[in-house]
């Protein structure tokens, strides 16, 4: 099953690839920050956990674990692997 969804909807254990990062106009800088962290198109990404409140979630990106809030991760679209 190959579905496109938002990064914030990933559940722990899921693997995916980044399709695009399209933040709202008032949140443009988050894209730059994400690019700096190595989140470019087609980057492999794994959701490795969520905080006790459910948000933020932790993602494994290029060997590093990065926590992202849903407000920010909702701007990232991913294609999940079957």
């Amino acid at each position: 099953m190959n579905g496109i969804k938002s990064l914030c909807d990933m559940t722990p254990g899921e693997h995916a690839r980044i399709c695009c990062i399209c933040p709202d106009a008032d949140n443009k800088h988050i894209k730059r920050r994400m690019l700096d962290l190595g989140m470019i198109n087609d980057t492999e990404i794994e959701c490795v956990g969520k905080s006790p409140g459910g948000d933020p979630k932790a993602f494994l990106i290029r060997g590093a674990v990065i926590a992202l809030r849903s407000e920010d991760s909702s701007a990232v679209f991913i294609r999940t692997k079957s």
């Binding site: 700096d36 470019i40 956990g49 006790p52 459910g54 590093a64 809030r69």
Partner: protein, 714 residues
């Protein structure tokens, strides 16, 4: 108030980066790298200095400088705040960028994390675009080996075209090769031939047009290819730097302007949007990093991070996260209270024994009464109090805390608490600054630089003093020990003492949330900004080293500072207590003046006076209080907490006095150092005033309420 992310920055990016060379021939070496890769450890190992280290991103926010001697030559090493990229956006990243780009260091050491090399290579590629004098130091090789990650440094070096040195910075020996490489790179003009990242044809064409004009204008002072790229992707925050570096805004040069126009139209003809140029550039760099990493890194075990993930499930689990945080806090306090008891009384016995001997000596020397009074009963006794009350808890708490810091647990705390902080429209990283506040509120305020949004940073600064620093911490421990648990050292009583202390701390945390929430919707209204936090791998702390380091570097340093304030304070108190106006001592005048108001708050004049006189250093509050009580007649010596309690009770202390004192200890004005730091960091009178007023008003209100409740119900 228009405090948005875009207005962040400039104000604190000028955290003075002047290289202090001992002589003009000295070479300047920058130590840069991603956050939390061990830059400070490398820096310490090379310079023999003791910059504070810890396993969490953003720990170094100031620039430390040190000296390294290789073959008789001096190198000035500059420890730069961690940064993911030189296309900066946060203030400390700007500092890093400006130093590497315009500080003209003789070489740059890029420290990389071997366990996460690919991500680190992005910064390496960006740096070798600016300067060829780059040394890549692949640190944490031991961690990588443990995770079965193999790094082919030779291959990496040939891919990058600059020297690559594997190190384990915690082991000093492994740095010899790095030193040799520093000497080689700085002395051989053509020792390194860094590869240039090739961008897409359109960008390359645009560079081709612009570069010759830039080269002509700047006459080789700066890498023209790199500058051309930056001009194309024009970043506002760089204009000032360019102006101050070249003495003029070169982007306004006629020839460059024309070339720019041509290059930009070429780009848009090729379908490359100018707004997205930066994204395109970074994407290319990241892609390149991935290719290089693929060639030089081998992951022998797929699930190399299994243990980390298991620990994360425990420490950040839905059910386990908060109880573990609570228990950890409880455990640390229990160890501190339990462990501090005995050495504390031992120390005071010894120090007051010396005091008696000193008095005898002064008598023998026929010294005048006022001299022995001011020096021994004033300065020395205050010092003895500070040492015996403050030293043992600090000497236990600091190492324990450093262990936590080294382990990598603190970022998880920020992660766990981000949701509540977000509800208060602030940033989870505030939890990290609060943790630093346990050590010292001034340090916590400086640490607020890790928070990107100015609005959130200011709220974190104002609320930092809701966490009791080590100066106030022992006050709480002493009062709890005297009034809330039996004086016996039974295990139950020490656990309940720790429990009370933990509850107090939690009340401080809850108030932090409340005040942050209120500030976020009033004075500093705004929405929470974006939040990215790296959760580093857990590391086993080096227990031996932590003990030595935290006792010598932190405990003794803090104690020294407290002692420097307390000795003169002792003299002042003694003078106040022994100067009479209208047959009443100045001290009594002062405390008597405060008494009516203090009584409403459930305190007394002397307690309030001690807090006021303790403004330069909170460590002196208890000693001032005790000396003031003693000077009113009864001169007892401190042998046990029980005796101390008797003295306080005979001065009218009750349970409600003790409780109000603890509340006021938690919530009153920050010490003078913290206030000055807030002024310096925020550059705002309003923020400074609020950071004094808010905790003070909170404390006064709480004290009055608690006192009233006691009066009414008990």
């Amino acid at each position: 108030m228009g405090l948005t992310h875009s207005s962040t920055g400039k104000e604190i990016s000028d955290i003075g980066l002047t290289v202090k060379k001992q002589s003009p021939q000295d070479m300047c070496i920058a130590i840069a790298g991603n956050p939390n890769v061990g830059k400070s450890t490398v820096f310490n190992a090379l310079t023999g200095m003791n910059q504070h280290t810890g396993n969490w991103p953003g720990k170094t926010v100031t620039n430390a400088q040190g000296y390294l001697l290789i073959d008789g030559e001096t190198y000035v090493l500059v420890d730069i705040p961690g940064t993911y990229s030189l296309l900066a956006h946060s203030p400390e990243e700007e500092v890093a960028r400006n130093f590497i780009c315009f500080g003209e260091p003789d070489a740059v050491i890029l420290v990389c994390d071997a366990t996460c090399l690919e991500r680190n290579l992005n910064l390496v590629l960006q740096t070798i675009e600016i300067t060829s004098k780059v040394i890549v130091c692949v640190n944490l090789m031991d961690e990588a080996a443990k995770k079965h990650i193999k790094i082919n440094c030779k291959k990496l070096s040939s891919e990058l075209g600059v020297p690559v040195v594997p190190t384990v910075a915690r082991k000093k020996k492994s740095l010899e090769a790095l030193k040799k490489t520093i000497a080689y790179v700085t002395h051989n003009e053509n020792g390194t031939k860094p590869v240039q990242t090739k961008y897409c044809p359109e960008i390359e064409k645009a560079i081709e047009i612009l570069q010759p004009c830039v080269e002509k204008k700047t006459s080789g002072r700066i890498n023209s290819r790199w500058l051309s790229l930056r001009l194309l992707d024009f970043d506002e925050s760089m204009r000032d730097e360019i102006v101050s570096f070249f003495g003029e805004d070169i982007s306004q040069d006629e020839e460059i302007k024309q070339a720019m126009e041509k290059a930009l139209s070429l780009l848009s003809d090729g379908g490359k949007d100018k707004d997205d140029l930066c994204g395109l550039i970074i994407s290319t760099l990241v892609g390149e990093s991935a290719k290089i990493a693929q060639k030089s890194v081998i992951y022998e075990k797929k699930d190399y991070d299994k243990t980390d993930r298991k620990l994360d499930r425990l420490f950040t689990g839905r059910l386990s996260a908060y109880p573990i945080m609570f228990l950890l806090l409880l455990f640390i306090f229990w160890l501190t209270i339990n462990g501090a008891n005995y050495p504390s009384s031992l120390l005071s016995e010894f120090l007051f024994y010396i005091q008696d001997k000193l008095l005898l000596l002064f008598d023998y020397l026929n010294a005048p009464k006022w001299l022995s009074g001011a020096l021994i009963l004033g300065a020395y006794r205050m010092l003895a109090w500070v040492v015996s009350v403050m030293l043992p808890p600090m000497a236990i708490f600091f190492p324990l805390f450093t262990l936590l810091e080294d382990s990598g647990y603190l970022p998880r705390v920020a992660y766990n608490l981000d949701k509540p902080f977000k509800k208060c429209k602030t940033c989870g990283k505030q939890a990290l600054t609060m943790c630093m506040g346990f050590g010292c509120n001034a340090a916590g305020v400086v640490g607020c630089r890790i928070i990107d949004s100015k609005r959130e940073r200011i709220i974190a600064m104002i609320t930092n003093s809701f966490v009791p620093c080590n100066g106030r911490f022992p006050i709480l421990i002493a009062v709890i020990g005297m009034f809330f648990v039996g004086s016996s050292a039974k295990i139950f009583s020490s656990i309940s003492a720790a429990f009370i202390l933990t509850l107090l701390i939690i009340s401080g945390i809850l108030l932090t949330f409340l005040i942050s929430r209120i500030l976020s919707s009033t004075v500093f209204a705004g929405v929470p900004s974006s939040f990215t936090l790296e959760l580093p791998p857990y590391r086993r702390p080096q227990i031996g080293k932590v003990l030595v380091r935290s006792i010598f570097d932190r405990t003794l340093f803090v104690l020294g500072r407290a002692a420097a304030v307390s000795a003169p304070a002792g003299v002042i108190i003694w003078i106040l207590a022994n100067t009479e106006v209208n047959d009443v001592t100045l001290l009594s005048h002062f405390s008597g003046f405060l008494d009516p108001f203090a009584k409403i708050m459930g305190l007394d004049g002397i307690i309030l006076m001690a807090f006021i006189l303790g403004f330069p250093a909170s460590e002196t509050v208890i000693p001032i209080m005790l000396m003031a009580y003693m000077s009113q007649g009864m001169l007892i010596e401190y042998e046990s907490l029980a005796e101390l309690k008797n003295m306080l009770v005979s001065n009218g202390w009750t349970i409600s006095t003790a409780l109000c004192t603890m509340i006021f200890t938690m919530f009153h004005w920050p010490c003078s150092t913290t206030v000055l730091t807030i002024k310096k960091e925020s550059k705002s009178f309003l923020v400074t005033a609020l950071s004094v007023l808010i905790p003070t008003v909170t404390g006064i209100v709480l004290c009055i309420a608690v006192n009233a409740a006691f009066r009414i119900f008990l």
